[in-house]
């Protein structure tokens, strides 16, 4: 057991300011109808709302000031993630502004960060979105030319820059690949959560810019920060579901009474409120650890993923169920949150995978 410093688990006034501006922008520019539209008409390129969000600094949060960024911390990024969970707008925030940005910063590819911070460039780490850790790479290099296939990469549709782990003898090296270049095919695929669509990437002798050093540390940092902040997104999803369902239960009448007056529902709401409260503490701790570079980050991220991913799914499922028929319709936005919550549960490792990993971290092996 490492000792735990007393983390700050509250929201600072500055963080609340950031939340307000992001929420306001999203409420104007990312309506439920617009968010749902991507299921029938997948985006080509990046959603226009991302430009607006980058405009208020969301793309720059995790980029150091010396590279044109805001030099903020994972705490502020977590606020953005919460709001992007409350709204489920299709944006590359998690994949580009969190994961890819963290990987590039750790790998020393700082020359790419300024364009990312400005929202002019969008990057994606070329791994299946379900990966909790760096898997054995499926891409090989032959005389500087990359070949191979990576499936189900989140954030790849619309990205102009791919960060590709490549086999290099016994180690793995990262290569930067520009999407427009020859031998690079990015094929978007239908996804359970179309608000964060996946793509399959095919490289056939593509040009790659090799980065120095072993890829593992940079990729691990990206995935770990991603998992920590995904918890805040899951918290946002859960909050929206709880609040929206509560509002509905107070107004929807059946048998002459608001359905929220039925005790069985009241008790489920109380249990869900508890779970969301607990998820908030877990997500906040993970964000704070990431912000402070605390050695406890790996534990905090897996705790948060184990707990928040389940709460988010539960909240979304209760949202659909307690809305009854209306919750099952395409017209009502509940389904967008259910799909996001369920996809987020698999993203960056399932809860069970995080618990298995946690066992190793805290000295509780399976056998």
């Amino acid at each position: 057991m490492t000792a735990q410093p007393t983390a700050d688990l509250l929201y600072t006034p500055d963080e609340e300011d950031l939340r307000r501006s992001v929420r306001k922008l999203l409420s104007q520019k990312a309506t439920p109808e617009a968010n749902a539209a991507v299921y029938d008409q997948p985006l080509e390129g990046v959603a226009p709302v991302w430009g607006e969000l980058a405009g208020v600094g969301l793309a720059a949060l995790l980029v150091p000031e010396e590279h044109g960024g805001a030099g903020a911390t994972a705490r502020e990024a977590a606020i953005a993630a919460e709001e992007l969970g409350r709204n489920v707008a299709p944006t590359p925030f998690l994949t580009s502004a969190v994961i890819a940005t963290t990987v590039l910063a750790h790998a020393g590819a700082t020359d790419r960060l300024e364009a990312l911070a400005a929202g002019e460039s969008v990057a994606a780490l070329a791994l299946p979105f379900s990966a909790r850790t760096l898997p054995a790479p499926s891409v090989t290099a032959d005389g500087g030319r990359l070949s191979g296939r990576i499936t189900s990469v989140a954030g790849a549709p619309g990205a102009d820059l791919l960060i590709v782990p490549v086999v290099d003898g016994a180690t793995t090296r990262l290569h930067l690949v520009d999407v427009g270049s020859e031998g690079v095919t990015v094929t978007p695929v239908l996804s359970l959560d179309m608000t964060r669509q996946l793509a399959d990437i095919e490289l056939t002798g593509a040009a790659g810019e090799a980065l120095e050093g072993d890829a593992s540390a940079a990729v691990e940092a990206g995935l770990l920060t991603g998992a920590a902040l995904l918890a805040s997104e899951q918290l946002g999803v859960a909050e929206w579901c709880l609040e929206t369902t509560l509002d509905y239960a107070k107004t929807r009448h059946q048998f002459g009474r608001p359905i929220g007056s039925y005790q069985a529902l009241k008790h489920r709401f109380a249990d869900l409120f508890l779970d969301v409260s607990l998820a908030r503490a877990a997500a906040r701790y993970a964000a704070d650890c990431a912000a402070r570079g605390d050695a406890d980050l790996a534990v905090a991220a897996s705790v948060a993923q184990s707990f928040c991913s389940a709460v988010s799914v539960k909240a979304a499922e209760e949202c659909v169920q307690l809305h009854g028929g209306i919750g099952m319709t395409w017209e009502y936005p509940a389904h967008l949150y259910l799909k996001r919550a369920k996809a987020d549960q698999v993203a960056l490792g399932t809860g069970a995978a995080h618990r298995a990993a946690l066992g190793g971290l805290v000295g509780l092996p399976p056998a």
Binding site: V189, D193, I326, T329, A352
Partner: protein, 394 residues
């Protein structure tokens, strides 16, 4: 074999001889089956039956199937055959029976059900669609929802409000409605899966002859309940093989694809396997009770169990599939002929299973039913029981 069984056997032989399935159109055969009293053998003579025991029907259907004849159209006209027809026998006039029963059995007229409304889901008696008397006709205005097959239906069974000054259960009336007339607009209702299994139906100044009113004015709640009870008879037993259905897909994936297996998910995999098996055994047990003429009170609870299981299992499947669980097979808006959980991907199963605890009575309503009717616990406090409909908070 009993005398009745013998009689029915012979009449079916005669039917098959007179209308050899090999050279008879299905619709014609079914019409002839109706005329021979072999459609609903427990219905009265002259209305598709012979007034015999209901259990003989399966013998008839087996005999016809063996000879290559058509099955009952319960699939495409389930609402007509399973709900409208018995309701007409119980509450209809002879004229109504003659007008509808033969066409329903033969498939000449497909039927849909105009019951649920946006404001009347679990609280079905709260329907607000109005029917106002105008001479020998009624004028109907309102909106219905969750209507399966409305876009293919020729007739509908409709519950509408004919009196807003009495408490909600007392002001309803039941009608047969021609779906091919002006003022009826059917719009597909797209669901969470992307498909539209159901419809919304908008009724604007639709005219229904009083001769198509089923039961008395104000008796609609009683008639509709008879219909819904017929719906519930269908559920129950049948000895299925182990690993039939969704569990077969999930366990099969675990069994056949070692790369999918995660030790940390094994206990949950087995927990779900056990739950599937226990539900199968309980279904078997219910079937055995039913066969002994003693249907168990458990049947009301089984719907809860199936919904819980389908939802947990399909949720688990997405996590088990991992990367594959993040992908989806088809979002295009389609109008499926039937629901097939197993012909689609895990994402579809997960989303569609969410409906299992809503359609045909939400799990919340089913728990009330089990608690009150099976376990004898006190009913919910009802504020609207004696309140005129128009004063009801909605």
């Amino acid at each position: 074999m009993s005398d009745d069984a013998q009689l029915v056997r012979e009449r079916t032989e005669t039917l098959l001889r007179a209308h050899p399935p090999q050279s008879t159109e299905d619709g014609d055969f079914l019409a002839a089956q109706y005329d021979a009293g072999l459609a609903w053998v427990h219905f009265p003579e002259g209305f598709g039956g012979l007034g015999l025991g209901r259990d003989l029907q399966s013998q008839i259907q087996a005999q016809i199937a063996e000879a290559g004849g058509p099955a009952a159209l319960a699939g495409i006209n389930g609402i007509g055959i399973g709900m409208a027809a018995p309701t007409l026998i119980a509450f209809g006039t002879d004229g109504q029976r003659r007008r509808y029963l033969r066409d329903i059995w033969s498939g000449a007229r497909i039927c849909c059900q105009l019951f649920s409304e946006p404001g009347a889901g679990s609280d079905l008696a709260a329907v607000a669609t109005r029917a106002v008397r105008d001479g020998d006709e009624w004028v109907v205005n309102g909106q219905k929802v969750w209507t399966s097959g409305a876009h293919k239906a020729d007739i509908a069974i409709l519950v509408a409000r004919t009196d807003v000054d009495v408490p909600k259960h007392a002001g309803l009336t039941y009608f047969m409605v021609d779906m091919h007339q002006p003022g009826i607009e059917v719009r597909p209702l797209r669901q969470i899966t992307g498909e539209a299994e159901f419809n919304e139906v908008f009724l604007t100044d639709v005219r229904v002859p009083d001769a198509d009113r089923v039961g008395d004015i104000g008796q609609g709640w009683k008639v509709a309940n008879a219909t819904l009870n017929n719906e519930r008879v269908a559920i129950g037993g049948g000895a299925r093989q182990r690993e039939t259905g969704m569990i077969g897909i999930v366990a099969g994936a675990w069994r056949d694809d070692p790369a999918l297996r995660r030790p940390e998910m094994h206990d949950e995999m087995m927990r779900l396997w056990v739950e599937a098996e226990v539900l199968r055994l309980a279904g078997m047990r219910l079937g055995q009770q039913l066969a002994k003429g003693a249907p168990g009170p458990e049947s009301a609870a089984m719907k809860l169990g199936f919904a819980r299981h389908a939802q947990t299992l399909s949720g688990f499947e997405i996590e088990l599939q991992g990367e594959e669980g993040l992908r989806f097979d088809e979002w295009a808006m389609k109008r499926p002929d039937h629901v097939d959980f197993n012909g689609r991907g895990p994402g579809y199963r997960y989303l569609r299973a969410k409906g299992n605890s809503i359609e045909g009575g939400t799990s919340e309503i089913m728990r009330n039913v089990v608690a009150e009717r099976v376990l004898g616990l006190p009913p919910e406090h009802r504020v609207d029981k004696d309140m005129p409909f128009k004063e009801m908070p909605r």
